[in-house]
């Protein structure tokens, strides 16, 4: 890839177009090798899944009493990752946050693919996946409907609604940009972008409708940020298991979701801006702001951990207390403390303004956050099940190769889809960047001054 031409300190609209469209030029061998690698892993995972469907869930490490473990952990993890995208694209849009323009497309894309990844796991974890549609209300001769008291049904609704709304929101946001790309493209790309652009001409009328529709969609998507992960948390909070049955789960999970999601955005953007040569569009100023969100949510999450421990003590319920004792000091206690280290201690480094703009440090910290958040879900989900109400049925759990490979495959699936997107669709919203060009100019100036 040719060295990226420096964008002028006072970029024009054309400069922005050029920088973004340049990314979408045909890719080299390294790119395709990477895509091939990702989807080979996906194919391997698919093979393991097929085997699991064929022979039964016994190929997993699941057991009495740990009926949910890595699959559900992955589900919650990926749903959590999804949240920051909508937060950035919808909520920050409504708040007219200035730094969101350059990052929101990538964040939103991440949302779509994270939900698409998350949505696989409830299917993968089903004993009889071929009947998954029984979870949805559809007219049938037997007059059978799902049980609306079950949090899993709420879940099915929440996640599918979320996927639908964010996909629509995302596709709509893309319209002016793909129209822009359409102009320069040739061959099949031209047809592809033409179809996606849906006849966008950039007339005043279209812009007026577009802006209003975008605002409405942002308004629709906003409550979903809070609701989806609340509903996901109720999968656990509505159960009577110690370690699950808790009223703080909804805010706790939402904060955790944003925490992990924003961290994942940073994790993705740092290598991406380098590899795609768009350092000038994604400036330190952007990362500084993203890092602040990570820091804030880290503090919220830490507070939730303390509250959880306090409430457990305060209830005086010995069963609950024993489960938490096992969580902290049991055989899996190390996972809890890894989680505390990753989620509560390491992010404190972000109090330092220097670290917030040190790309390498930031990248490592956010990876720790992602590890920590994965462990958090695992500790809550599988860990609580191991130390349940019936001591004679306590048992440990050890994941099988099937679960590990499917988890690896899910990461490959997510990263692969994201990589495809980054190359074929505008990864940064030219439209919004132009709208906020003043702020971009300011940020660039700041960078140059610092560099000088």
């Amino acid at each position: 890839m040719a060295a990226a031409p420096k964008i002028p300190v006072e970029p024009s609209y054309r400069d922005i177009d050029r920088s973004v469209l340049r990314v979408m030029e045909p890719a080299g061998l390294a790119y395709w090798a990477w895509i091939g690698f990702c989807f080979t892993l996906v194919a391997i995972a698919a093979g393991f899944w097929l085997r699991q469907i064929y022979s039964g869930l016994g190929v997993t490490g699941l057991r009495q009493p740990v009926m949910w473990a890595i699959y559900i952990t992955n589900f919650v993890f990926w749903v959590g990752i999804a949240h920051s995208g909508t937060l950035i694209s919808a909520i920050l849009f409504l708040f007219r946050t200035k730094w969101r323009t350059a990052v929101y497309r990538a964040a939103e894309t991440m949302t779509i693919f994270a939900v698409a990844t998350a949505g696989l796991f409830p299917l993968i974890h089903l004993g009889r996946v071929w009947f998954f549609y029984w979870l949805l209300p559809y007219p049938n001769q037997r007059y059978l409907q799902p049980d609306f008291r079950s949090p899993l049904v709420w879940d099915a609704f929440a996640v599918s609604t979320y996927l639908t709304i964010s996909a629509l929101f995302w596709t709509m946001g893309l319209i002016p940009d793909v129209a822009n790309a359409r102009e320069a493209a040739t061959g099949w790309r031209k047809k592809f972008y033409t179809a996606l652009a849906m006849g966008w001409q950039g007339t005043d009328r279209q812009w007026r409708h577009y802006s209003m529709a975008y605002l409405l969609m942002a308004g629709l998507a906003t409550p979903l940020v809070l609701s989806v992960h609340s509903v996901v948390s109720w999968d656990f909070a509505m159960a009577i298991n110690p370690g699950w049955h808790s009223t703080i789960f909804a805010p706790y999970f939402v904060a955790g979701a944003i925490f992990s999601g924003v961290a994942m955005v940073i994790t993705l953007l740092i290598p991406m801006r380098k590899l795609l040569g768009i350092e000038d569009l994604l400036t330190e100023w952007h990362f500084d702001n993203l890092a602040k969100v990570v820091l804030l949510t880290s503090l919220v999450v830490s507070y939730a951990y303390i509250t959880e421990a306090f409430m457990t003590w305060y209830t005086g319920d010995p069963i609950e207390q024993m489960t938490f004792h096992m969580r902290y000091f049991g055989p899996w206690g190390w996972m809890y403390w890894v989680m505390v280290l990753c989620n509560c201690v390491i992010p404190l480094l972000l109090f330092s303004p220097r670290i917030r703009v040190n790309m390498r440090a930031l990248w490592i910290i956010t990876i720790f956050v992602n590890i920590g958040m994965w462990f958090e879900r695992f500790v809550i989900i599988a860990g609580s099940l191991t130390a349940n109400i019936e001591p004679s049925q306590w048992a440990g759990y050890r994941p099988s190769i099937t679960e590990i490979m499917i988890t690896v495959g899910s990461f490959a699936w997510f990263v692969g889809l994201f990589s495809l997107f980054a190359k074929f669709l505008p990864i940064i919203s030219m439209t919004e960047l132009k709208e906020g060009i003043v702020w971009l100019r300011k940020a660039l100036k700041m960078d140059r001054v610092k560099a000088a």
């Binding site: 022979s55 039964g56 869930l57 016994g58 490490g61 699941l62 057991r63 009495q64 009493p65 740990v66 009926m67 949910w68 974890h125 089903l126 004993g127 009889r128 996946v129 009947f131 998954f132 029984w134 979870l135 059978l144 799902p146 049980d147 008291r149 079950s150 949090p151 899993l152 049904v153 099915a156 999968d235 509505m238 159960a239 009577i240 298991n241 010995p318 069963i319 024993m322 099940l385 349940n388 109400i389 019936e390 001591p391 004679s392 049925q393 306590w394 048992a395």
Partner: protein, 972 residues
Amino acid sequence: MREGPSISRRSFIKLAATAGAAAAIPGCEPAARQLIPYVVPDENVVPGVPSFFATTCSECPAGCGVVARIREGRVVKLEGNPADPIGQGSLCARGQAALQGLYNPDRLAHPQVRGDDGAIRTVSWDQADKMLGDRLAAASKGGKDRVAFFGSPQGPTFRKIALAFVGAYGSSRAIFYEAINQEPARVAAKTIFGRRDLPSYRIDQAEVLISFGADFLETWQSPVELARQYSLFRTPHERRGTLTIGRATYVGPRLSMTASKCDDWIATAPGVEADVAWSVLNVLVKQRWVSQNSGFDLAALTKAVENFDPVATSARTGVPVETITRLGETFGRAEGALAIAGTNDSSAHLAAMILNAVTGNFGKTVMFLEGSPAEETSTPDEVDAAVDAMRGGKIDAVFIAGANPVFTMPASARVAEAIQKVPFVVWAGGVPDETAAMASLLLPAHHPLEAWRDTAPRAGIRGLGQPVMQPVFDSKPVGDILLAAAAGSSSAKLPWASAAEAVKAEWLALALKADGADPEDFWVSVRREGGLFEEQHLSALSLDTSAFKAPVPAAAQSELSVYAYPHIFLYDGRGADKPWLQELPEPVTQIVWDSWAEIHPETARKLGVAKDDVIEIKTEHGAIEAPVLVESTVRPGVIAVPLGQGHRAYGRYAKDVGANAWAILAAGAASAAATARATGKTRTLVSPLGKSDMMGRSIVEAMSIEQLARGVVPRSEAEEVTGPYEMYPPWKYSRHKWGMTIDVNACTGCSACVTACYAENNVPTVGKDGVDRGRIMSWIRIERYFPPAGEAAQAPQLYLAPMLCQQCDHAPCEPVCPVFASYHTEEGINGQVYNRCVGTRYCENNCPYKVRRFNWFVPEWPAPLNLQLNPDVTVRGAGVMEKCTFCVQRIQFAELNARTEDRELRDGEIVTACQQACPTRAITFGDSNEPASAMMRRREDNKLRNYRALEELNTQPAITYLRDLYREKGGA
């Protein structure tokens, strides 16, 4: 208007569909097709309707009566025969599992010949019969006693057949070998009463019971019958104005399940139980608590036990003096007392008998009966003589049937070597075992459930075993093989041509004795009843102490000794080929599919080993390796190893599982001095049990009999449970609301209910690896908890109780199911619709009792084990959740019957499989809407003992438990 029967289009289609389905059903099960092929249908075979045949159980010498449930020509379930006075309608786990012996996939299917090169060749029955006849004839030419029969005791008629067989070949060597036999008891009885028959017991007539190593709830003599008696003994009753329960003490090296249900366990080294027993007698004699009319000479007795002063015994055995004195005093003061012994030395048996005799308890708690059946089992001396003869080349042909001496006889007997010396070894049986591996002709024999046989367990009781179905394999009854072979010899003139004929002839002879009975009517009635059960009469007892010699204290114990005891489920090893029994957790250790070396933490420290470390246990007779289990359930310095595992043959389920403890014992011994060393290897002992500590949760509750007598509710939290809280309107049960009452005090932990559930509900086994991975499928399990450290004095020795679906009114499993697969039926059961289940497993996550089971794989029943499957219960596929249904198929069956007969359901008409099996009647099922039902009355009658498991969770279980009862320590 048109006349005639009107049939709407709708009903026509219904009828057509039903008929079509009915026609299609036999096609689902190809293996079953040959069972209903009659052109003229057998009136006994009505598809969908079970028939029942009374027969007898052959799994141990207790001889319980059995009723076999037959569906479409094959037996699907065994239950106790209510007419039989021994089992009284109950059947233990081993008895239930006989089905898996019948349908065992490793049973010999065709006669086989082992060539000189060891190669196995399948032959036809004609060839086999010819070979048998020729070789036996050749053998008998060598002179007298050149042909031998070596088998297990299989009833009086079989005994006659076997004797006729050897007689036909000019021999008298017929050995009826039982590895676990009553020889010590017989010797003891002979010593003081001059008779070798066995007394029968009435634990329920006693106030105090001392067991010297007798695991009477597990393997000793007649466990089902004794467990029933024991539960009556432990039922709270008024005595001398206070509410009390029988006081039981167990003396022995290991806290067996039996010991755990006693008040006290006096841990002794193996072999010194007799010392304690004599010492107890010493206390009695010293106090002159010797009944005037017992016939004993007090002076002589005093002299005999002079070496057993409690102080001296205490010094030898480590049992505290006060304990012995207290044992003697409570025994002597009791209104009825019973001492029993289960050790292998007759000294303890003798002491126990004298204890019973001097306290005047003969005829009360223990009795010899008039007309005891002839002894069936050969004495150890006879067995030894036969083995010696073989080794000496004095036997040219031996016919082995039903016994596995190569496995069960100690290494010192060198029985394999002896059998090798016999030129022609015929083996007839089911699954080829270690002994079969030495035979040159292997013949598939009928399983007892396929053959005619009879039993005579004790005076007044004769069980008639009739075949309950067509043979599964190309086998013949052993009796027929023997008779055919005997008939082939030139000299013989046999009274019967077949075993069936023999049994009938024997029983018709009994009819002649029964006055005025028409033989054919009699024959019908005994087959219907499953035997002849007559009144039992006490036998006059005469004391004959001439042979009585003063006992000698046992020699000093070695520092470390190994103690081998029969496994509650595998017994002497014969249960090991049955996956139900292998997968049933041993109640005290909860271990499955393995052998283990149970040692005290102190011993473990000395040996420097931890749980799962494999140790080598070496005695002068041999060495075995087994993983260590470190528990305080065994006396320090003792390595307790269960018998029954360690097969090198005996089918896929038994082969290469664990170690054979028989191999390190001397003949007739249960223990030996041993050394142990760590091998450096480890092997995980697999158990479905997680924690042994209940952590104060209300799962299995207990209270002391003193509290019960005072009317105290023990649970301090009781007032906190005020519920029920319900967001939704409460369920309305317009007809029935099924419920259960389970008496934890009656539950012994014997796990008969668990096996019954496996059989009734098509619960698959998953193997050792499956259990290790947490995939055991049992719908009902025995919860075992240790009392918390520090509170052991005020708790039962072990908490044991069945845990099954509590069929909650406010079931946590129900609302979480997204597809209504888990739902509430209108009769109060937590239904599970297998077809609707998508396998989210949320229900099990949310079940506080953890009683739901997920099908991780497609369950497997290697043919012909699948023939046992109950056609009334769906076989579940992979990916669905399953659970206890309160035997909904039995509920439906009874409801349908009631409707057909146009009447209301009767209380007690529905009997769940677990309830049916329970030897102590700990489980009662019934309608909660009916306050007069036996189930509700049992709750009402034991109001103070009622509790519901984890009630504070507001699950509102339909099962009410009655608290276990223990005796406060340090009290009177």
